[in-house]
Every structure is written in structure tokens, then in C-alpha cells.
């Protein structure tokens, strides 16, 4: 069963607005990963945040991690229509390859 949960399931915003997606997980982690999936394609890794980090930036992406609450958030600033996609968080088992993926947030950015 999926342990990661994204919230909200769907998000619709206007171009230029910020989009925030949240992820909760249940087990201890070494890192948490965020992925993006365009319709009909495979997932693409966006950003990894380690368990000893609280915040990480990559371009217009900002990820936070709160291990005490077992939660993470992905913020996309100044969104573009091209950001329209589904976004997933994933938590790999420590020292192993198997990951638990959330159910994803579907983001629609209207031009």
C-alpha cells in the first residue's frame, strides 16, 4: 500500500501564481525525492532533500522537509503553463532501492 500521500490531489492556478504541494510519509527516511510526470510519460526526478536538511532550492523549486511531522512541501514559484504535470513525492527505504511513491498532485497552470 502507498505510504506517501500528496495533498491536494489536484490544483488549478493561473500562470504567474505559486503552487504548493504537500507530502506526508510514515517511516524514517534518509532522503525524500520529488518527481514530475508529464501526461503519458515516465517520471522525472526534480529534487532530493536529505533528512538533515530543512530546505532546498533549485531554480523556481523550493522544497522543505519537517522530519518531526514526517512531511514535505514542494513550492513552484511564478508558475508557467509548461509546469502543468503530476508531481509525486517518494521516500526510499534507508540503504535500499525500493521507494514508496505518493499518489501525486495533478497541477494545471492556466495561461
Amino acid at each position: 500500500s502507498q505510504q506517501g500521500e500528496e495533498d491536494p490531489q489536484a490544483l488549478s492556478i493561473q500562470e504567474g501564481e505559486n503552487a504548493t504541494m504537500n507530502c506526508s510519509y510514515k517511516t524514517s527516511i534518509n532522503n525524500l525525492q520529488w518527481y514530475r510526470q508529464n501526461s503519458g510519460r515516465g517520471l522525472v526526478h526534480l529534487i532530493l532533500i536529505r533528512s538533515n536538511e530543512r530546505e532546498k532550492h533549485s531554480g523556481r523549486l523550493r522544497v522543505t522537509l519537517d522530519t518531526s511531522k514526517k512531511s514535505s512541501s514542494l513550492l513552484i514559484t511564478a508558475s508557467r503553463a509548461a509546469d502543468t504535470a503530476s508531481y509525486f513525492c517518494a521516500t526510499p527505504a534507508p540503504n535500499a532501492g525500493k521507494s514508496t511513491f505518493g499518489d501525486g498532485t495533478t497541477l494545471t497552470v492556466k495561461p
Binding site: 518527481y35 509525486f88 532501492g97 525500493k98
Partner: protein, 111 residues
Amino acid sequence: DVKVTQSSRYLVKRTGEKVFLECVQDMDHENMFWYRQDPGLGLRLIYFSYDVKMKEKGDIPEGYSVSREKKERFSLILESASTNQTSMYLCASSSRDQPQHFGDGTRLSIL
């Protein structure tokens, strides 16, 4: 650049057929995975392999088998295809607990 290649983007088969989905990675990753993705159900792990000739069941292995004779290749086999196996199939590879690299997916229809 990193590449995971799935043999077919679209595949149509008939009920009862034996179906082979092939996946090849060029990154010398020890871990390889097969997922299926259905609307509203997220990514579900079918099988994964952490070494040549090694395999472990995921969350939904029933009706599937896998083969990993070489490190770069991981095959998913539908022993006797059924209509409820119509889905998007995603292959991925990784090293240890690092991000997974995904192929573009195979959209399989069983008629």
C-alpha cells in the same frame, strides 16, 4: 546522459497471450523496478531486482513474473494476459537509495 529504454510505447495483445515487456538501462544501476500506473491508484510496484538474477515481489506481483539475466536488462512477463492488466507500465532503475530513472512507459491494452 542517463537512459532507461522500454521496448514499446504502445502494445496491444489478446487475452491469454504471454506478453514480454523489456527494459534496458545504461547506467550500471544495481536496482531495477517495474510499476504499473492506473488512474486514481498511483504507482504500484510489481517487482524489483537489486542484482542480476535476484528479484523480489512488490505490492501486486500476481499474474506477473520477471527476469534479470543481465544487469542492464529487466523483463516483465505477463504469463497469461487478462483484460485487468490493461495499464501503463513503467520501468525504472537506481543505485542504492538515489533517485530512480524512469523509461517513457508502455501503454498496454489487452483485448
